[in-house]
């Protein structure tokens, strides 16, 4: 008697849940119908909003008529590894070029993906300092960061490829101002000695900073703007010398033909305008995005010119050199600085 009651109850629950999931099955089966083409986008999380806006514009063009999108966004390295091991993709948009190189090595992306005028780059940003309201510690320059008592929050360059821009910027600015490699290494050591938190990703670092940790957040301009657009903003300072962040995009070898049109559209003025509105720096200077970007420190001049802008190509060579020199697990310069900072405590 009693047992029957329980069995009935359980059966009811299971039936209900199955019914629920059955509805799920029917609604998710909608892709691929009508014979229209689908572009699979795999990318890092931040440009999702921009890509969505670009997609809305793209389907209004002749080339994009009727095109459907299937999208996947996450941490850049995770996404790249997923595509390498078989995740279906036509167009990839990553945070660092090394994530595309991984796909080139796997034979999924053509060797000459970065041969075009844009060198494979589809969106830009720069490294900035996030500070507390009113900038109480008056942080303006890289030297201010290594003052005693300044607490830095930066995403962990060891576990997140996307966080490597910060460490590179810290190194490059020493060289740029005439310092030697030794000076730069010394600066990096001091920098990491002041780090109080190394969260997993840029987003985690922002959360940790907003949660009260540290005086300075190593951030990206576009993330700072996007955060402000979503009501989680923080003040940011653009240093005199900083690094240009270049996010690569590429078409896979076996992609559907319409993906070429999509990439072209992403690089067009219209596509870049959408990036600008979400806080990315357009890859060309003459993009008209209407003059104002909400969430920027100065919305009417959202992307002020940086006096000394470093780039990976100009100042460091290439990403593979950078990976070996700075981030090698055994003896990369940044790896060692992080380890030294831990031992000192």
């Amino acid at each position: 008697m009693q047992k029957r009651k329980i069995t009935a109850g359980l059966a009811g629950v299971v039936a209900g849940l199955l019914a629920l999931s059955a509805c799920g099955g029917s609604s998710s089966g909608s892709e691929g119908d009508g014979g229209s083409e689908t572009i699979s986008i795999v990318g890092f999380a931040v440009p999702e909003a921009a890509n969505k806006a670009i997609a809305d514009e793209f389907v209004k063009t002749d080339a994009g008529k009727g095109v459907k999108f299937s999208t996947s966004y996450g941490a850049s390295g995770d996404q790249s590894r997923a595509v390498e091991s078989g995740l279906e993709a036509d167009y990839v948009h990553f945070s660092v070029a090394s994530d595309v190189t991984r796909l080139v090595d796997a034979g999924l992306v053509a060797e000459d993906w970065d041969a075009g005028e844009n060198k494979g780059v589809v969106s830009n940003s720069i490294v900035v300092f996030g500070v507390r309201e009113g900038n109480p510690k008056n942080i303006r320059t890289w030297d201010d960061l290594v003052e005693p008592g300044v607490e830095i929050v930066t995403p962990n360059p060891a576990s997140s490829g996307a966080a490597r821009w910060n460490a590179l910027a810290a190194w490059g600015q020493v060289i740029q101002s005439g310092g030697s490699e030794e000076d730069a290494a010394e600066y990096i050591d001091k920098f990491f000695a002041n780090v109080v938190s190394l969260p997993g990703s840029g987003r985690d670092a922002t959360t940790s900073f907003l949660g009260g940790t540290g005086d300075v957040l190593m951030a990206y301009e576009n993330e700072a703007i996007l955060a402000a657009q979503n009501g989680e903003g923080f003040e940011y300072v653009i240093p005199e010398t900083t690094l240009l962040i270049e996010n690569p995009g590429a078409i896979l070898e076996d992609a559907t033909p319409v993906a070429e049109d999509w990439l072209e559209f992403v690089l067009s003025d219209e596509g870049q305008k959408q990036f600008a509105l979400k806080g990315f720096r357009p890859i060309r200077d003459d993009i008209d995005f209407g003059g104002t970007v909400e969430g920027a420190a100065d919305p009417s001049n959202p992307f002020p010119e940086v006096p000394n802008l470093l780039t990976v190509e100009k100042d460091f060579g290439s990403w593979s050199e950078v990976s070996d020199k700075f981030f090698d697990e055994e003896n990369g310069l940044v790896t060692e600085a992080i380890e030294a900072s831990g031992k000192a405590q």
Partner: protein, 247 residues
Amino acid sequence: MLWFSLLVLIPLCAVVVTAAEGGWDTFWTTITNGQTAAAIRLTVTAAAVVTVVNVVVGPMIAWVLVRDRFWGKGALELLIDIPFALPTIVAGLVLLSLYGHDSPLGIDVANMPSSVYLAYLFVTLPFVVRMVQPVLEQLELDVEEAAASLGASRFTTFRRIILPSLTPAIAAGAALSFARGVSEYGSLVLLSGNLPFKTEVTSVRILSSVENNNLAGAAAVATVLLVISLLVIVLLDVLQRRVAVRD
């Protein structure tokens, strides 16, 4: 058995094989790297301490849930499983706002080693409680009452009658909570700050290796954790048998 092999044994073999593919040198340099070794030490210590806490507190919670009666007990019962269902990022978020810099209680463990313990306590809570609960319910009050009526003090009843019956369940819960602690990552990433030698756990080291395309290194660290967990599980099993035999 086939399902077990397909699901567990083969993937685990894949991990060990990947670790072995790197060769003994890679394996050894990976795990003797100072930072990794420190991370392994912290992870294992924290998991062990948290397991001990769970072994003590878990049965207490189960006892209260099964035997005690008071207003609001139902609400406590509802809470037990939530740590499992809550996505770990959200767990990290709320723990950060309650026990971080802006803590309303003034308890600030952010970026301290204690944050690792806190996060582990949160994610491993249900194990011992839920393991002990069904056994306690199955345990017949008659036996206890008989013991009591024969003049056994409550402590003796507990030690001689209840504890031996609960031991297998407690041991099982302990093994699971240790294992889970060793592998946890998501909930502590915001709170701990991943500081090398201080709050960095092994999962972060594994991620670093993966990010550097060093799968062999990642697998090496994972293998070490596997072996440690296996040892702990066997140890608990042996302990539990000895307790069971003694009584």
